[in-house]
Amino acid sequence: MTMDYDLGTDAGELRQRLRELISTHIPEGFLGACTDDPRDLATTESFCKLLASDGLLALAWPKEHGGGGGSVWQQTVLREEMWAHHEPRGAQYMGINWVGPAVMRYGTAEQKAKHLSAIAAGEVIWCQGFSEPEAGTDLASLRTRAVADGDGWRITGQMVWTSYAQLASWCVLAACTDPNAPKPKRLSLFLVPMDRAGITVRPIRSMLGPHHLNEVFLDDVEVSPDDVLGEVGDGWRVMREALAFERVGIARYARCESLLTRMQTALGDDWDKLPESIRTRWVRALIDLRVARLLAYRAVSLQDDPSAGAAASAARIATTTCDQQVAELLFDVLGPEALDSGSSAPLHGAIEDHWRYAQAATVASGTIEVQRMLVARETLGDHG
């Protein structure tokens, strides 16, 4: 059998269907849920319910849990089309992409009943409490303590950078249940409602816009054994395995390809008048995006293969660096206008928006340094 790069008829049909849904239900100039305009958040909430009613929100999930039972290539198309169109699922992707799958694998029957159908229906937003002021990439060093109290625990500590914490009704919270245990056995994961007594959220103003970054203060928050996801002391393993569900990461190449296409259309014949150096950078950007897409497809095709190694990390390095490359290219194309934002700015502000978010591409969801460490470990072994 020869090589074949066709995503399949069902994936092609899904792409068409998603584009039609987006064109009908998402307003022109939409730049995601987290803007200064609260109508954008409302747009994502109604769009998620629409996707859910078609079995498209939790496309990857088994049908028994309210999912669509879609193929990995349909999931790939969903990732591409959603990100290309400024993620009209808003804050829902976290619940869909890994909280739900983690509950499926490690949750109790009660937890599955309580959470899975709600996530699949687009009715609930989740946030994750993993980062602390003193522990970011080094997750196993979290200091937030869960101190035993009767059958349960009381949690005290501080999380930071917590996306969507103001919007979320639930949080997957990591806390240290045994500071004397070996590092991999110190943490436990808790599923905690955000309205529980002792939780305070403080938004952090940032270049990314509202809702992306928050501090979450935990003051003697009471949790019970029913709130634990997986085994007590097994949080590090659950977290690592759960995050592997989204290890291929965001299809950033799709947004970049979309922006370049839209910019090219907007320029029309003026594209030919761009300086030669810009036009050749444009060519190289398109080539690098093709490579990033192919690396992502390779990682997807290996996702159930234990020998996949660092394929996903390689794909993430390629796509996150493309994000920044395209951001700079488009700014150089626009010149001073690039700094304009809002609906009167070029592409309704999408280029200015992209540049700001691209700064986070190599930081969020696993820094590029961590991805390089993983690629190097596969290439060179465990030295260092």
Partner: protein
């Protein structure tokens, strides 16, 4: 979707790599700079592998076999114009040239030659003699006659594509040599591979090489099915990416091997010197990028959002 090489092709690649290693790898290429006979032995080695029975123009299986053979040839810096002979026309080897400065790799070998530029314009060609250059030591300056018809665009595309697989092989081999070196070489009491700067540099080179490999597989998998203009753009894209990747990986190899990498006793030196002709000719990477600019608005540089190009 199936992104891995078919099993039979992967096995052929292994056999080809072993056979060309037995021929002598890059060190044989080094000796071939002064020992004429070795170039004929190089031809015999690929002939043993059935290279010249492959029908690269009309059999996709044969084309894929030719691609992995070119990859193995690149890894060995094989001193023979393999791509040129695989695409021979009526027994004459086909060389891709820049008409402004025509040079033909191994143009001094006995046999007939046809030259073509990237537009497919065909020329009678008169190779002269080798110049003992360090970079591209088998390059032979040539004189072109007046344009004399055309060669099929598909031949130009295959030439660029198979040449890119040669570059891919050289890139992968150089990276592997570098990997072995940094694991073995001790500095400040520990292997170079324990320094994070070294690890990150290797990681970046590895991602670049992996990306080139995926692009090479993708490009060759659709040479038959893509519309002609898209196929031509695909070939230029692959060659441009191959040239850029080779420059990055060779630079990495030289930096991490230190002075050893400049010595001809290191295969990196030979691979780099001998691959320069493919990296720079028939056009530089920048000139390839400029040629591709026309394909941006025409949609030949396909993306997820470009309109289909008609066949």
């Amino acid at each position: 979707m199936k992104t891995a090489l078919p099993e039979d092709i992967a096995e052929f690649a292994t056999v080809a790599t072993k056979r060309l290693a037995r021929f002598g790898g890059p060190q044989a290429a080094l000796r071939a700079e002064t020992e004429e006979q070795l170039r004929l032995e190089a031809r015999a080695a690929v002939a043993d592998l059935g290279a010249f029975d492959l029908d690269v123009r009309s059999s996709s299986d044969d084309l894929l076999a030719a691609a992995v053979l070119c990859q193995a040839a690149g890894a060995a810096a094989l001193p023979y114009p393999l791509v040129e002979e695989l695409l021979a026309i009526d027994g004459a080897r086909l060389a891709l040239v820049n008409p402004d400065a025509p040079r033909i790799e191994h143009g001094d070998l006995a046999g007939d030659w046809i030259a073509a530029d990237l537009d497919g314009t065909r020329y009678h060609v008169q190779p002269t003699s080798r110049t003992s250059a360090k970079l591209g030591p088998f390059l032979v300056p040539a004189t072109l006659g007046q344009p004399d018809g055309t060669v099929p665009a598909a031949d130009v595309d295959l030439h660029l594509t198979l040449g890119s697989w040669r570059i891919l092989g050289a890139v992968q081999q150089s990276l592997d040599i570098t990997r072995q070196h940094v694991v073995a070489r001790m500095q400040f009491g520990k292997p170079l591979a324990e320094f994070q700067a070294v690890r990150f540099t290797i990681a970046d080179a590895s991602v670049a090489a992996r990306g080139l490999y995926e692009l090479a597989k993708y490009t060759i998998s659709r040479t038959e099915s893509a519309p002609a203009q898209v196929r031509s753009a695909d070939a230029l894209i692959l060659r441009l990416k191959a040239a850029d990747t080779a420059r990055q990986v060779f630079r990495t190899a030289h930096q991490l091997l230190g002075a050893l990498g400049f010595c001809d006793e290191s295969d990196v030196s030979v691979l780099d010197r001998h691959t320069q002709s493919l990296i720079r000719l028939p056009l530089s990477a920048e000139e390839l990028a400029l040629r591709l600019t026309a394909g941006v608005r025409g949609g030949q540089l396909e993306t997820l959002f470009s309109d289909p190009v008609s066949a």
